[in-house]
Symmetry: C2
Subunit: 414 residues, 2 copies
Amino acid sequence: MTIQSPVEANGRTYPTPKTCAIAICLDGCEPEYLDVAIAKGLMPTLKRMRETGTDRLAHSVIPSFTNPNNLSIATGRPPSVHGICGNFLYEPETGEEVMMNDVRFLRAPTIFSKFYEAGARVAMVTAKDKLRALLGAGLKFDEDRAVAFSSERSGETTKAEHGIDNASEWLGMDVPEVYSAELSEFVFAAGVKLLQDFKPDVMYLSTTDYIQHKFAPDQQGALDFYAMFDKYLAQLDEMGAAIVVTADHGMKPKHLTDGSPAVVYVQDVLDEWLGEAAARVILPITDPYVVHHGALGSFATAYLPEGADRNDVIARLQAIDGITHVLTRERAVVDFEMPADRIGDIVLVSGENMTLGTSEHRHDLAALKEPLRSHGGLTEQVVPFIVNRKIDLGNMPDLRNFDAFFYATTAAAI
Amino acid sequence: MTIQSPVEANGRTYPTPKTCAIAICLDGCEPEYLDVAIAKGLMPTLKRMRETGTDRLAHSVIPSFTNPNNLSIATGRPPSVHGICGNFLYEPETGEEVMMNDVRFLRAPTIFSKFYEAGARVAMVTAKDKLRALLGAGLKFDEDRAVAFSSERSGETTKAEHGIDNASEWLGMDVPEVYSAELSEFVFAAGVKLLQDFKPDVMYLSTTDYIQHKFAPDQQGALDFYAMFDKYLAQLDEMGAAIVVTADHGMKPKHLTDGSPAVVYVQDVLDEWLGEAAARVILPITDPYVVHHGALGSFATAYLPEGADRNDVIARLQAIDGITHVLTRERAVVDFEMPADRIGDIVLVSGENMTLGTSEHRHDLAALKEPLRSHGGLTEQVVPFIVNRKIDLGNMPDLRNFDAFFYATTAAAI
């Protein structure tokens, strides 16, 4: 089946690929991880790509969290368009916190669904299943032209719902532990086999940042991870695919010198100022998998009680050491391109070495074995953007990680 | 004399040029001016440069005014480093407004002075003399290796102070009117003759935006200007120079449908809220030459009286239609890279079609013959960045106009 060109998604027009256009989202890939691994000779393929292809840095969307950025890469647009600005949202009317990883929260079609509609073969592998559900929105599996599954649930996939029966068996790899480097390795291995056997026109591979939360760039756990990635990257590259390697966000150490996490407990602060539980602090990084970051990141939003002096609260929060930005909802909509109806009255960002918490007693940090590394703020918005072919990245002053598929298809159309 | 390499200025290292490295700052050159003139076939040289050289857009510094950006281009750094954040500043202690175009306000050495110290030949021509004084800081004229003058005062230059006697006579062109296209044409003509005769290693040409304030991109006055520029650009290019064409800021229409200027008179607003003259609104665009913009731009700063509720003022200003940003001084320092001691308690930015004034009665708009076009805000921060050679613009996510000399020398070092 030929692809009906051009494919349009959310107001952007994508070139028709002549070879497979792949975007790889390396979760939590602070650029330093690549620099260090390359300097140690562990990433010969990526090193060559940087030299002979196209090598830039790009900006992620804010909050620099996994879901908002993966959905931006999948739709080519910021959260103000696709609506996913965190892992969950708060509904002031009901007082409920609602997980945002349901397809009904997605406000824009994905590039994959548009390519599928145009007749293309589409494949996607994610580490965690929560993302697969969102990213797979709009895909159909009845024509054998789409595959979408997660390593996490690779033992339970069906042809009807994922385009493939038992992906773990198909790949010949066991279903990995959810907290492991193997969860991401499975993604790469599946990508290589899909490229060989399924021959997609467009493919998305998205990993998990368990390793990056745990290890700094020069630590063995990180070095092993990137050396492993480079071997799979070499195979994808050899098969002639056009590849963009980018990330959803960076990763910074956010702990004190004694190794304990650096936190401003914002709910405690607001409780003291406005009364117990009068304000409601939401940490959109929170998800069912919190072992590796204890739900501590550099972004928070808060709903204030009626009658609270928002500007006074903003000014007082702004004065707290380690908090770098306190914005009104209106300002966050403009500056961070966030959806107004899914954030609180104020939005807070903390600095390179500081996180934002709710109440101290609500964070179970016992599982945090290593000094905390995390993300969410502006200090984690610079990410790699590397293409294995020499292309013109356009003339816009700001390159975004969510331009990945535009340039992957551009490179694949050469 | 050979240049002692490498030349370092303000923490950046500049490649040693093998041919003349030229940066051209087209004052007020909203990218659309070039697009329209090229589309009409009036800029064959620039069209070719965009196709065969390097073509990007870049971000200016905020405020998007002439002096802050020219000094950023000249130092390679933002206003937080060089200190020049407008045409004048307010000293709350004395209650005085002080022109900032004196060299004593400049906090960083220019790239020109560093190249001069390293043995290079340096030339600079500006349209207005106020800029020449600032940009010429640290240059010496006793070794016949530096030339720095303005078209405005080209009839009064001396070898001792400008490196050349009577530049107007030398060039064979009359001293132009200060409000004219010729003031900029003189800059280009002098640049061509300097390149031929003086053979500088590094040259800076900086025009005035009289034409851009007056004419929209499709109007004859603008088209004539860019056609004229292209002829000189062709000559500079033919002589083998490495050239970066950029701008200090863009330019947007800021008038109502009846042609009258769109203004929020901030001093009047604050007088009403806080009492007559209690706050002090400063418009750093103001200068002795206000005919073409009536001192109306999209950036203002204000000093508030002691005891004023700054956060309340910010919130109320933020609610005014057309005002897009109201920041605390602290926030402006971080987000706009401004020097904390030269701005007021708050900083205001207005939108694409709105300006900020002081009190209505203080603006003499009688001289404004055309519907107002102006700049100063975030909507005028995107500027052209075009190099006549194919070079790698580096991998940083954000290209700045003040990277001009870094890439001009990079291109000249090939």
